[in-house]
């Protein structure tokens, strides 16, 4: 888990300070400097249009950070509220559950392509996909936890002394249901990174020339045989981010279930 946290922290930090450490504008094309190998001037080499790959990767990280930091908390809040609100009445419960079923029936990238067709791609489409895909996951976890806690003595006691529904939900039940939601946060962050990478990789996410890890990797495909270093940056960053987040989730899971 510590290793995971170190991976993630390093990469997020690199993304945040990108303007300080990037040596070039990620869109700047140096004439005659295309497809250069690794060197002191270009630590990750240059791409087919002579742009510095380190700068593009660093700025690409920012896209993933934005997608994760905006998309995941929104989906967690909406999902948790829906999950807690559902069981209050039979019909809202059925309606919300069916809604979740429908969303979960979409393979995530297919959902992304459908949303991108509507919103004409770009960052909003990716964030919307992350939010929509994660809402039912948080919703189901919150609902299950709520149903388990509702029967507990402390909830019955709180009801008996006349606590209101809101107070019982947010002061008593939510804090006791939060463990699986925290583990899911880490997993959903990994999903967000996957969604950005996947959508930009197949051309329905961030559009070139703006850099994103997914579209840099896609642009490197024709040059895998001649210039494998083109793909190096996005691959290492993706692997570290996603592995790191999964290790954090595993670690949290183990720690919380021991408690």
């Amino acid at each position: 888990m510590r290793l995971g946290a170190v991976f993630v922290a390093l990469i997020v930090l690199a993304g945040i300070v990108a303007p300080l450490i990037a040596r070039q504008d990620p869109l700047f094309q140096t004439a005659g400097a295309s497809l250069l190998p690794l060197s002191a001037a270009h630590p990750l080499g240059t791409d087919d249009l002579g742009r510095d790959l380190l700068s593009r990767v660093l700025y690409g990280i920012r896209v993933d950070v934005i997608v994760s930091v905006i998309g995941v908390p929104i989906s967690a809040v909406i999902g948790t509220l829906l999950g807690l609100a559902g069981p209050s009445s039979r019909y809202t419960d059925i309606a919300i559950q069916r809604g979740f079923d429908v969303i979960l029936a979409f393979p995530i990238l297919i959902l992304g392509i459908a949303i991108a067709s509507v919103t004409n791609a770009g960052l909003p489409a990716i964030v919307a996909t992350v939010v929509i895909a994660n809402v039912p996951i948080f919703g189901r976890l919150a609902r299950t936890a709520f149903l388990q806690q509702r029967e507990r003595d402390y909830v019955v006691a709180a009801e008996a002394i006349g606590a209101g529904t809101g107070r019982i939900l947010f002061r008593h039940i939510l804090p006791n249901s939060v463990d699986p939601l925290i583990v899911q946060l880490a997993l959903s962050l990994a999903t967000a990174v996957f969604v950005e990478g996947g959508m930009s990789f197949v051309g329905v996410g961030i559009r070139v020339p703006a850099p994103s890890l997914g579209n840099i990797l896609n642009e490197s495909l024709p040059y895998l045989a001649s210039n494998p270093n083109f793909a190096l940056g996005p691959m290492v960053v993706f692997a570290m981010l996603v592995l790191g987040l999964n290790l954090i989730a595993d670690g949290l899971n183990a720690r919380l279930s021991r408690r």
Binding site: P107, V204, L217, L224, A239
Partner: protein, 315 residues
């Protein structure tokens, strides 16, 4: 069992129906009618109006929805104006290639999961255990667009043993076809294999702790027989459900894998139709993948119930 199926199938149909409405509503109600896109940037209003009429986009929405569904059920989905072929033909061609890829991937995933899951649950060796955990963690976490590129770099660019991409039909020689199939199938199979292996391992570990396994060992049954006759059949039911979900997700994964390996399947078709802004085709393909997902999930739920009688009695 029939009673369970009678409960499960209608609820799947409801979800499918709601999903089809959602897809139709979202893709049809967006600004920028497909007719405007089809007519091109400099089209005059008369051309747009005639295309709108031809596509039936001037009909009331419920009627358009009904026509769309009828077309899909009967296979008369009309013409893709932009790709210049009947939609049914395009989908048929893509579907057979994607089916080839996904079936191969599922087969591979099952084999890998069986080996890794059984080794993980039964081995006493620390080294093997660590290897199993590393394999499942890495293959689960690393996205297909990374593992695909790594596979190409190793087996196509480095070792020159397999082609970096493309497709050959089995009619033109099974060995050639297989060479093209291996890398994309492995790439698509890895995440599913990791999830399956983890579930099988956990489930098998629980079963192996049961009393009846101890009895079987005390009776002196050989280890292999205990595993195959007593432990595995009881570890499988839950894993089957996971298999269904993974199979459904493979269609999403196929979009990426087909893009890396230039595999001419449904994933490529949906991207082509997205790029050419043929949203009517996108709509058909999204519904198709959702349908496959729901059908697979329902089938595996039924299989789970057939394998595990307790489930059928649950309300």
């Amino acid at each position: 069992m029939l009673a369970y199926a009678a409960r499960r199938i209608p609820s799947a149909l409801v979800v499918l129906f709601l999903a089809s409405i959602a897809i139709f509503a979202v893709l049809r109600l967006t600004p920028g009618s497909p007719a405007v896109v089809l007519a091109g940037p400099d089209a005059d209003p008369a051309t747009i109006a005639s295309i709108t009429h031809e596509l039936g986009l001037d009909l009331p929405l419920p009627e358009q929805y009904a026509i769309w569904l009828r077309g899909i059920v009967t296979g008369h989905m009309g013409q893709s104006y932009i790709l210049g072929a009947p939609i049914a033909t395009l989908i048929g061609r893509g579907l057979s290639n994607t089916a080839e890829l996904t079936v191969a991937a599922v087969g591979l995933a099952i084999v890998i999961a069986l080996v890794v899951g059984i080794v993980g649950a039964t081995t006493g060796s620390r080294v093997l255990k660590t290897l199993v955990v590393t394999f499942t963690t890495v293959s689960f976490a690393v996205p297909t667009f990374i593992s695909g590129v790594v596979l190409v770099l190793i087996f196509a660019v480095g070792l020159h043993v397999l082609p970096p991409g493309g497709h050959a039909s089995f009619g033109s020689g099974p060995l050639t076809a297989l060479r093209f199939l291996i890398l994309p199938a492995v790439c698509l199979a890895l995440p599913a294999a990791a999830v399956l292996a983890r579930f099988l391992q956990t489930s098998l570990q629980h079963v192996l702790d049961e009393e009846y396994i101890r009895v079987a060992r005390a009776k002196g049954l050989p280890w292999r027989q205990i595993l195959v006759r007593h432990a595995l059949p009881n570890a499988f039911p839950g894993v089957v459900t996971v298999l269904g979900i993974q199979f459904g997700q493979l269609l999403g994964g196929a979009v990426i894998v087909e893009a890396i390996f230039a595999w001419p399947g449904l994933g490529q078709l949906i991207l082509q139709s997205f790029v050419s802004r043929d949203y009517l085709l996108v709509q058909d393909l999204v519904l198709l993948s959702v349908t496959v997902f729901i059908v697979m999930q329902t089938l595996t739920d039924l299989a789970h119930a057939a394998l595990d009688p307790r489930l059928r009695l649950e309300r």
